[in-house]
Symmetry: C2
Subunit: 314 residues, 2 copies
Amino acid sequence: MREPVEASTPRSRKRTAYAAATRTFDMDKLTAPAERVETFIARWLEARPLPENLRRAIRYALLAPGKRLRPILTLHAAEAVGGRADDALAPAAAVEMIHAFSLVHDDLPAMDDDDLRRGRPTLHKQAGEAMAILAGDAMLGLAVEVVLEQVVPPDRAAAVCRELILGCNGMIAGQVYDTLPEPEAPEDAAARLLRIHRHKTGALIRASCRMGALCGGAGDAQLERITRYGDAIGLMYQVIDDLLDVTQTTEHLGKTAGKDVDQCKLTYPALYGVEGSRNEAERLREEALAALDMMGAEADPLRQLCDYLAVRTR
Amino acid sequence: MREPVEASTPRSRKRTAYAAATRTFDMDKLTAPAERVETFIARWLEARPLPENLRRAIRYALLAPGKRLRPILTLHAAEAVGGRADDALAPAAAVEMIHAFSLVHDDLPAMDDDDLRRGRPTLHKQAGEAMAILAGDAMLGLAVEVVLEQVVPPDRAAAVCRELILGCNGMIAGQVYDTLPEPEAPEDAAARLLRIHRHKTGALIRASCRMGALCGGAGDAQLERITRYGDAIGLMYQVIDDLLDVTQTTEHLGKTAGKDVDQCKLTYPALYGVEGSRNEAERLREEALAALDMMGAEADPLRQLCDYLAVRTR
């Protein structure tokens, strides 16, 4: 996502039927805030007293190459409601910490048992399993800390932190729904899939958007629009993720492809087929854009990000 | 700790030289708040939407028989500064959640690899390793959530939550210092031991006390006294813990005794001998009581708790 992406390549035109596929994005501009978040994280992490090996482990997991989707959403959401991205840097850093924590714990041998993440050895392969458990715990805790330390005034800090932790807790619940399903659950597959994804991916993306909006000083109506946008792209993100798992290579993704099929996972392509899943992604893209209808040009980066996420290939 | 304890038994008189050993405590009264915290936790956990298997796992770990030292400190600290214990119930529950999360993760095979906790199978033995990892993560997140949801007004919620997470993050750092020491560390053993314990046990006990004081509406001077008290008993608690590991049986403790020696751990008895450690515990008891000198009878439960902790046998 950091390098300029031409969405209208022959490959993506062939693979996507919808309008977004023929657009081009100034990805450098759209993802520029990622660097500010990375710099903020690096500096904050350097200044925070920590055991040096824990600091190294956190930096390894947290500043690995990544899309930084969630913090970018946070910063763009702050600007979309008329605020300043700078006022949302701490929650942007925090949501990336929560995301990184979840990846580290998900990769553990007792969980997904994955050796590769973002094209590099997973943290437990790099620093040992005990450190991966503790560094994951620490990233969760530090995410809360950075918000409470940096967001002002305190009542806003409490509100933003609440969004963060609801997103985090929803994500953990989603992980349980997904990987430790209860056999007696009587619901149908479609409802189950929706519940998993609304929690596992959706909750933290919703939080990313809402935290940005809160830091940007959003009113109730603005917050509600940003929330609807976040819910739609959160689900769309996961539909696309499921699609990429069956259509892309491990090398291209930087993580093990084809895992969902190997593990007989309940996914959008498994349930609705590849074409059905693409249609659902397009429907969600339109839903996200519709949520922003009443907003001005300040919301354009969110619109473009939505379009980009609909055609991303990794 | 829940049953009445006679501190002046022949055994404790023989084992402890200091004045506290000849006192008796109304332990029922002193630990009565534990039941209110357990009831609060049970109700809150029941009402919070969660995957049912995650709820069961959290309840198993969180409501296992335990001393509830940290939440009791929180409630007594609120009253010691002239506030109401009821206003500190949420942070009391939260600190127990953080404590329980740390025990669950510490017990994992990649960490201490312990099968027994509080006299029962550890959570990963009971519910599997993946669930233990996720339930630990969830307890950390839910601890933050319950504070932000229940403590009012919002600026107090932010301040209390900040104490909670500083305690949690300090504890995690202490766990790293303790179990994953860096070979190149040049400091001497005494400094290392102090740093480990100030973090590993001390940080969360300090937070327990400070959260209670904040919820009780403490002024700066009161908060400072409660903090000094908390720091002293936090360290004393760990000195006694180290002593119990070498002087008590697994059956009596409800957790594996003699582990420190087996693992060649740096402990107070290893560094200062059993008598030297007892002297240090007594010094810390006096330091804790001195911190409360200027406080009235409202602080008596904290004083009695300090005396009890100095002579506890499990």
